[in-house]
C-alpha cells in the first residue's frame, strides 16, 4: 500500500468513519485504521438509538439541539442504516409530574416535535406497556444500526479514494521535532508492522482515545463509563420506548430487526475493554425495566453485553450520568505543544457527523484546504443491502440473510470471521442466536470461498464461542433451553469439540 497519506484517522467507530468520509469529500488523501472490525467498540455496543434529543432537553439543552439537527440529517442521508420507528416517552403514576412540564418546555426550546397520545390509545398500539401510563408523547426517535452506519461511511469514502484497514492496531507514533509525522501499525492477522507517514493524525479512538494519545506521550482525561444492555428475542414495542423522567438506568427500549435492545446502566470503569455484563447487572436492569413493561421478567433474553461510553472531562469534572454528552476537540499543540495530532473525544453516535465535521474543519484549515463540509448533503449506502432474494436462497431465517448477502459482506476481504459478516448482515443476531445459521454459513463459505476445512472449522467455532459469551449472563428461562439445544447440536450431534484433535481408532 501507499505508505504516505495526508491524514491518518485512528478508530473505526461512527466518529472515525465519519471523519474519513468528510476528509475524502474534501479531497484530502486519508487512511483509517481500526484495531478490530469497524464499529466493534462503542458504536456497535450501545442501544442503537438515534436520539431525537428529547432525553437531554432538561439537563443538556445544547446536546439536545445537536441531536435533533443530526437526527433529521441522518434520516435523510442514511436511510439504509436507520429504521424510522419513531419514539415515545411515557410517564407512569409513580413519576414526578413536575418533570413533564420541564421536559415539554425543553423539547419546545430545542425544536423537538412532541405529540401527546392518550394512554388508552397508546396501549392499543403498544400492548406490552404498563397500564400505569399517565402521560405519553411521541418524538422523532429512531433505531440506528451502528455497524451498517460505520461501514456505509467507509464505503462512501473508499469510492472517493480513501483507504480503511481494519484489524490494524496503532502501536506508536513517529515524532520529529515535536510533531507527529507518522504512525506505526501492526496487522493483527499477519503480525506485520509498518510505518505510514502523514501530515496529520486524528485520534477518534473513543473509549480507547486516552490509550492512543498515551502512545504519543499525551495525557487526556477520557473516562470510560460502562453501560450494560440486554437483548430480547422479539420486538416488545414497535417504537423506541423512553421513560419520561430524569435519565437513569434501564429506561430505553429500542426495537431492532426481530429483537429489542434494552438498557442501560452507567458505571465508571478504568478499562475500555470491560464489555462483559454480570448477572447482577442484568437483574438490576430487569427490575428497573419492569416498571415500564410489567411482563419483562418472563420474556426471553437472548444476550447481554456492555459498551463503554467515552466520556471526557477536561478538568476531571462530573462522571457517569452527570457528565456532559458533548464532544470536545483537543488540539494537542495547545495542550503540550505537540503538532500534527488532534483528538476528538466524548459525544455520542447521533452527533457523530458533527464531531467529524469539527475535526475535519480544524485539520483542513491546517492543511490549507478550504473546501466546506458537505457530509449532510450526500447520501451513504449500506455495503450489504437487504435484498429480496429468491425463496430458497436464505440461510438465516431469523434475520432473512441470503447467500448473496453473505457474498457481498466479504467482498474484497482476505480474512474474515462470521462476526464480521454478522455485523454487516445481522446473521446470527436473531432469536436462534446463530444456532442454525452458523453451521449453514460455514458450509456455504467453505465451498464458495474455497476455504481449507480447518479454516472453516475455526470460522464456525469462533462464532459459536462469541455467541455463547453473550448468552452466559442470561442463561435462564428459554435461553437456558435454547443453549442446551445448541450444545445438543454442536457437541452431541456434530461432535465438533473433538474434531481438531481426534485421531479416532475405528
Amino acid at each position: 500500500m501507499n505508505n504516505k497519506v495526508q491524514v491518518v484517522v485512528i478508530g473505526g467507530g461512527a466518529t472515525g468513519t465519519g471523519i474519513l468520509r468528510d476528509l475524502a469529500l474534501r479531497g484530502i488523501d486519508c487512511l483509517l485504521v481500526e484495531q478490530n472490525d469497524l464499529a466493534t467498540g462503542t458504536s456497535g455496543r450501545f442501544h442503537g438509538l438515534l436520539h431525537s434529543g428529547a432525553r437531554y432537553v432538561v439537563k443538556d439543552l445544547h446536546s439536545a439541539e445537536e441531536c435533533i439537527q443530526e437526527n433529521k440529517i441522518l434520516k435523510q442521508i442514511a436511510p439504509d442504516c436507520i429504521e424510522d420507528t419513531g419514539g415515545m416517552f411515557i410517564a407512569t403514576k409513580n413519576d414526578d409530574p413536575g418533570y413533564i412540564d420541564k421536559w415539554l418546555a425543553g423539547c419546545a426550546q430545542a425544536g423537538i416535535e412532541t405529540k401527546e397520545i392518550s394512554p388508552t390509545e397508546l396501549l392499543k398500539e403498544e400492548p406490552a406497556l404498563t397500564p400505569d401510563v399517565v402521560k405519553a408523547y411521541f418524538v422523532p426517535d429512531a433505531a440506528v444500526d451502528g455497524f451498517t452506519l460505520a461501514a456505509a461511511n467507509v464505503l462512501s469514502a473508499q469510492k472517493l479514494g480513501a483507504m480503511a484497514r481494519n484489524y490494524t492496531k496503532v502501536i506508536g507514533f513517529k515524532l520529529e521535532k515535536n510533531k507527529v509525522c507518522g504512525v506505526y501499525l501492526k496487522d493483527k492477522y499477519t503480525g506485520k508492522e509498518e510505518l505510514v507517514e502523514c501530515q496529520y493524525v486524528i485520534n477518534a479512538g473513543g473509549a480507547w482515545a486516552g490509550q492512543i494519545a498515551g502512545l504519543a506521550g499525551q495525557n487526556i482525561n477520557v473516562n470510560p463509563d460502562k453501560g450494560v444492555l440486554v437483548i430480547f428475542n422479539h420486538r416488545i414495542t414497535n417504537r423506541v420506548l423512553n421513560h419520561l423522567r430524569p435519565p437513569g438506568d434501564g429506561d430505553i427500549f429500542v426495537p431492532h430487526g426481530s429483537v429489542t435492545v434494552f438498557g442501560t446502566t452507567s458505571k465508571v470503569t478504568n478499562n475500555p475493554d470491560d464489555t462483559e455484563a454480570t448477572l447482577e447487572e442484568v437483574l438490576e436492569l430487569l427490575a428497573e425495566g419492569s416498571n415500564l413493561i410489567p411482563d419483562l421478567k418472563n420474556m426471553r433474553l437472548i444476550r447481554a453485553f456492555a459498551g463503554v461510553r467515552p466520556l471526557y472531562q477536561p478538568d476531571g469534572g462530573q462522571l457517569g450520568r452527570e457528565a456532559t454528552r458533548d464532544f470536545t476537540l483537543i488540539d494537542h499543540s495547545q495542550l503540550t505543544g505537540l503538532e500534527g495530532l488532534v483528538s476528538v473525544v466524548g459525544g455520542k453516535l447521533t452527533t457523530y457527523r458533527l464531531m467529524a465535521k469539527a475535526a475535519v474543519d480544524f485539520v483542513a484549515e491546517k492543511l490549507g484546504v478550504d473546501k466546506p463540509c458537505i457530509t449532510h448533503q450526500e447520501m451513504i449506502y449500506a455495503p450489504v443491502p437487504k435484498n429480496g432474494a429468491k425463496p430458497g436462497e436464505y440461510l438465516c431465517q431469523c434475520e432473512m440473510v441470503s447467500k448473496k448477502m453473505l457474498d457481498q459482506s466479504i467482498e474484497g476481504k482476505g480474512h474474515f470471521s462470521l462476526s464480521d459478516v454478522r455485523r454487516l448482515t445481522r446473521l446470527g443476531m436473531g432469536p436462534c442466536q446463530g444456532t442454525f445459521c452458523t453451521f449453514r454459513a460455514t458450509g456455504y463459505y467453505h465451498q464458495s470461498r474455497n476455504l481449507k476445512v480447518t479454516e472453516a472449522n475455526k470460522l464456525l467455532k469462533d462464532h459459536i464461542e462469541e455467541r455463547w459469551k453473550g448468552s452466559k449472563p442470561v442463561l435462564w428461562g428459554q435461553q437456558a433451553q435454547e443453549t442446551q439445544l445448541t450444545r445438543g447440536i454442536y457437541l452431541g450431534l456434530l461432535n465438533l469439540e473433538r474434531l481438531e484433535s481426534d485421531n479416532n481408532e475405528l
Partner: protein
C-alpha cells in the same frame, strides 16, 4: 382415571419406562406436555462415547469402562442404574426394535464410529441396522448433498472426513429440482423422497454422477416411514451402500425412532396423553397420590396411579426450569442443587457446563432424595433421563444411553412398587 404406572414425559426415557412397565403387565399411561426430545435426536443410542469426559479418545469398549465410571462417579446416573440393568436394557431394546420394525444393531463391547453432518466421527453403541455400514470400508466414499437442503454441505463433510480417515472422500451435489419456493428441511425432503418420481430423479442423478458401487454418505432424508423401501430401492439401483447421516433438527432418524417406539407401545396397550403439562400433584405421607392436567375446556382432570416415572427431559425438555438463582423441577417441585455458576467454560470445553450437571438427585432406586438430609422424598416416584443430576450428556455422548437405561429401571421399579428382586 386410575393406572398402575403413569410416566410423565414422552422422550426415550419415558418410552423406555413405559416399555418396562407394560412388559410387567401393568396398565400404563404416558403423559407429556410436548413431543419429546427424541424427535430431534440423532436416533443413535450411545452408551458412553468418552470417558472421562475430558478424554479426546473415544471409548472403545463402553461396557468395560462402565466399571470404572460407576466406582469413580457415584452420582452419575449409570452408577444409580447399575451395570446389570444397563446391559439388560440395551439387549431388550435390540429385541424390541426388531418388533417395532426399526431394527437396531451394535454391541456394548465396541463403539461404532459414525460420521456426523460436520464430517467428524462420533462414537455410538446402538444404531439402526440401515446404518450398519463401516466408514472404513474399501469402497470409494462419496458424500452427497441435496441443493434444496440448507443444513448439509458435502464438501465440508468430505474434507473433515478426509483428515480423519486419511483417504480421499468425494463431495457431490444433486439438485432434485423440486421447485418449492422455500428452504427445505430434512423432514420435508424425507416426505418428498417417499414419492417414487422424486426418488427416481435422485437415482438418475446419482447414476449420472458415476457413484455406482460406492459408499454414499447422504443426509438422513430417505423417507419418514417408508425408509426401508427408499433405501433399498436406491441401493439396488446403484449397487451401492447408503449411509444416512443424522441432520440438524428436525432429525428424521430421531423421528423414525420416536414414532416407531410410540406406535409399538400403543399396540402393547400403553395410553398416551400428549400436549398437556401436569398442573399439580397431590401428596400424602411421602407418596404422590395423583396428578392432574387441565383439559381443553379448562376442566381439571385427575389421574391416579400406584407409581409414577418422572422422565421430563431436563432443561431441554422443560422438566427443569432455570431461573437466575434457582432451578425448579417442573412437576413435583423436587429440590435441585443450584451450581454456583451456570457456565464456567468455553462452549466447546470438554469439561461440560455446570448447568448440564444439575438435576434431581436420586438413590439407587431412582427415588428422589434430598441431597442435604439424604431423606427419600417421594417413595413411589422414579426419575429417569435428562432430569437426573450428575452428568453432561453432550460431552460424554451418553444422552440416549442414560435415557434408555434409567427409563428402563424406573419403569421396572414403578411396575414392582420400588423393589427389584435380582
Amino acid at each position: 382415571m386410575n393406572y398402575d404406572v403413569v410416566v410423565i414425559g414422552a422422550g426415550l426415557a419415558g418410552f423406555s419406562a413405559a416399555l418396562a412397565a407394560v412388559k410387567e403387565g401393568k396398565q400404563v399411561l404416558v403423559i407429556a406436555k410436548g413431543m419429546g426430545n427424541l424427535y430431534s435426536s440423532s436416533g443413535y443410542i450411545d452408551l458412553l462415547g468418552y470417558y472421562p469426559t475430558t478424554s479426546k479418545k473415544p471409548v472403545v469398549n463402553p461396557q468395560k469402562i462402565l466399571d470404572s465410571l460407576i466406582v469413580e462417579n457415584p452420582n452419575h446416573p449409570y452408577a444409580k442404574v447399575g451395570k446389570d440393568i444397563i446391559i439388560k436394557a440395551f439387549n431388550d431394546f435390540l429385541l424390541v426394535s426388531e418388533e417395532m420394525g426399526l431394527p437396531y444393531t451394535g454391541s456394548l463391547n465396541a463403539n461404532m464410529m459414525m460420521p456426523t453432518a460436520a464430517g467428524a466421527l462420533v462414537p455410538t453403541t446402538l444404531y439402526p441396522k440401515s446404518t450398519d455400514k463401516k466408514i472404513t470400508v474399501d469402497r470409494e466414499i462419496v458424500v452427497v448433498g441435496i441443493k434444496e437442503l440448507v443444513d448439509f454441505y458435502p464438501a465440508y463433510v468430505a474434507q473433515n472426513l478426509e483428515l480423519q480417515l486419511g483417504r480421499k472422500v468425494k463431495p457431490l451435489w444433486i439438485d432434485l429440482q423440486l421447485n418449492i419456493s422455500r428452504e427445505l428441511n430434512s423432514y420435508d425432503l424425507a416426505l418428498a423422497l417417499e414419492k417414487p418420481q422424486v426418488r427416481n430423479g435422485l437415482i438418475d442423478q446419482l447414476i449420472n454422477l458415476n457413484v455406482r458401487d460406492s459408499l454414499i454418505l447422504i443426509p438422513a432424508v430417505l423417507g419418514v416411514t417408508r425408509w426401508q423401501e427408499v433405501i433399498s430401492n436406491i441401493e439396488q439401483s446403484l449397487n451401492c451402500e447408503l449411509l444416512e447421516i443424522p441432520t440438524l433438527p428436525p432429525s428424521v432418524m430421531g423421528y423414525r425412532l420416536a414414532e416407531s417406539f410410540k406406535l409399538y407401545l400403543k399396540n402393547k396397550g400403553v395410553e398416551f396423553i400428549i400436549g398437556y403439562p401436569v398442573a399439580y400433584a397431590k401428596f400424602l405421607d411421602g407418596y404422590c397420590e395423583e396428578i392432574s392436567i387441565y383439559t381443553a375446556n379448562d376442566r381439571l382432570k385427575k389421574i391416579k396411579a400406584q407409581n409414577f416415572c418422572l422422565a421430563t427431559g431436563g432443561i431441554l425438555g422443560e422438566g427443569l426450569q432455570v431461573l437466575p438463582r434457582e432451578i425448579k423441577e417442573d412437576v413435583f417441585g423436587l429440590p435441585i442443587q443450584v451450581p454456583r455458576e451456570y457456565s464456567l467454560h468455553d462452549f466447546f470445553s470438554l469439561e461440560g457446563q455446570p448447568l448440564s450437571y444439575a438435576g434431581v438427585n436420586v438413590n439407587d432406586r431412582l427415588q428422589p432424595f434430598d441431597p442435604q438430609t439424604k431423606e427419600t422424598l417421594l417413595k413411589n416416584v422414579f426419575v429417569a433421563g435428562a432430569t437426573l443430576a450428575g452428568y453432561d450428556p453432550f460431552v460424554e455422548k451418553s444422552g440416549n444411553g442414560v435415557a434408555l437405561t434409567s427409563g428402563y429401571k424406573a419403569g421396572l421399579l414403578a411396575a414392582k412398587g420400588g423393589i427389584l428382586n435380582e
